[in-house]
Symmetry: none
Subunit: 193 residues, 4 copies
Amino acid sequence: MAPNAARRSESSRKAILAATAELCGENGYARLTIEAIAARAGVSKKTIYRWWPSKGAVVLELLDQTATIAIEPPDSGDLATDLRTLLTEVIGMLTPPETSPGIGLIAEALHDPDLARELRERLIRPRIATFKQRLRRAQDAGQLSPDADLDVALDLLYGPLYHRMVFHLGMPDPSYLDSLIAHTLRALTPPRH
Amino acid sequence: MAPNAARRSESSRKAILAATAELCGENGYARLTIEAIAARAGVSKKTIYRWWPSKGAVVLELLDQTATIAIEPPDSGDLATDLRTLLTEVIGMLTPPETSPGIGLIAEALHDPDLARELRERLIRPRIATFKQRLRRAQDAGQLSPDADLDVALDLLYGPLYHRMVFHLGMPDPSYLDSLIAHTLRALTPPRH
Amino acid sequence: MAPNAARRSESSRKAILAATAELCGENGYARLTIEAIAARAGVSKKTIYRWWPSKGAVVLELLDQTATIAIEPPDSGDLATDLRTLLTEVIGMLTPPETSPGIGLIAEALHDPDLARELRERLIRPRIATFKQRLRRAQDAGQLSPDADLDVALDLLYGPLYHRMVFHLGMPDPSYLDSLIAHTLRALTPPRH
Amino acid sequence: MAPNAARRSESSRKAILAATAELCGENGYARLTIEAIAARAGVSKKTIYRWWPSKGAVVLELLDQTATIAIEPPDSGDLATDLRTLLTEVIGMLTPPETSPGIGLIAEALHDPDLARELRERLIRPRIATFKQRLRRAQDAGQLSPDADLDVALDLLYGPLYHRMVFHLGMPDPSYLDSLIAHTLRALTPPRH
DNA sequence: TCTTAAACGAGACGGTACGTCGGGTCTTAGG
DNA sequence: CCTAAGACCCGACGTACCGTCTCGTTTAAGA
């Protein structure tokens, strides 16, 4: 067998992600450039392009590593509390709007289907699963109407976040969050008779 | 009295917007360039920069002129029908995702607060007002709970659109739209007792 | 007389030349622009282009008005003194090198034959005539060799000025000037035998 | 040892100088642009700006490479012949006036001291040295007056070239050249007694 | 332990587009 | 008709990044 190839440099990888985080925090995603990342990380551009296809992919990996949102759904016993927990974690990823890598990534994904797919698969889908698990448990316990559409529930709860983000309306404050959750639960709850 | 200034050329303005529409349709917002607009419109770059601060501003004006969504709220008698009408019109503005000026504009607005404000004021706010008028009429007629939060209603109905757009999930099909509206109305309707 | 057509505005002409002089003195000929002249003079660009074909032509007219070099040849009795007088006046027109309209004009004339011709006819030729008159008088008086070529004399005396100007060598100081004149006179003087 | 930097591309350098020579010959120095050079050479503008500060610097390098004027002074035995040889070579560099890079460079140097210095150091000074060597040899041989000022001699011989060039008078023809040299030598020759 | 092929830093390269400047022409309204 | 104001088309400017491509230089696996 041929002598093995040299291996990827872990220290470069770390330096690149660190530089990306710094620069994104300093200037925002839109002003982030591969050139600047390479310079800050003390790395050649080639090294970046060797391992990532685009700026977005680098940021995605950064976000993937940074994301702290639990994969395990919370279960405090109270559904509303748990939903608030989950929403709050997502809001954290989209804050502050000016320099959040998350928002930049979303903007990029809007005209980059490949990146969008990656984003969906690696970051979003696991959290959606978490969210649905929690809802299904509630449904099984009879807290939600048996015919409630959980996909709609996802849209009803997370949609408003993106809606507000798009128009720079600021992220929902706690009381608005409560109102949002209350309305949504009402939509999912079996009508009393 | 001082002699008057030279006037803005209406024909240039039209040519620029037309070129923008064409190019956006051909290559999508992300690949749209001021250079290309100028070339296609037979106009100098200077003329574009004289009247618009950025590519986004041009597209915004284009969209503003193109938007056909009624300012007057529809009133067919059936609330669900009217809401579906409004949502459908918004969906039209965001379709097709690859070449829609609307989606490009939203992506840009995500890291351009000035553009976001303009977008909100000139395009979105009037339609929100329309939407709320229709809801308030329903509320007055007792079709909605008197304490229903109309801001939340807005988020519940429009939020999902952005949510799906962000992740390239495709716009809701009619049956999904019905489900969405039904759930939302349930959230806004006084519980039967 | 008929209530006549509007005539060329003398005040505009003066303002334009004044602005040109100021700006040339401030930034040098190379950074002089028609735009700036128009703005400073409170005049429209059109008005400048109506009366002058180019920046060079404006500066030429400015120089023409400003030139103080006597058309009448000096005659102090001493030929060397008079030549020094004439040379000194030309040097004055080419000083300071950074902001002298004269040097700028010369640079422009190097690739603008039309301007070069104008420059020759309006500014240079009269001074050449003056110069030659003085030399011819000396020749008639037997101070110069009867077969001395006065065209060569012109080149010998004025050529060095341009030579030094081109290479930013600084204009000749008085003692160098004396040496130059002495050598030239020797070239023009009948050899003693 | 530090890893080496990427090396300058010799082929680009040659293509740039070749394109410059062509374009200058076609349209003249004044209409020469960096854009056109880059396009003709199949090179990016950045590559030009990376290695030269201005259009003038490119042309200077071109001229430097092209210049064929001997550094070794000619010595045919006859001083006048050798001077004519030297002058003729300089005239060649300034011909034809419309498209000669040399003249364009001189025009530019008139308002660019940096370029003027480069021009002086790299192109002119070596030829001046050549010129003076030849004169000094003649002086040592007693053909010139021991107190003749060789700097003045330089001005007397080369000055007229620039003088005529400036006013588009055409370069001296051979007979004029002879007259010029004859007069100059007379100025430098010990008076016979 | 030595070989060797890959990954690496550095950064030059051909490009595309940027946003700005000034040129010279044209239009509008006032005097 | 001349003028001030200034918009217009045009073309070049010099800059910023893109993504690709050598260059030598580590460096770590396997022979």
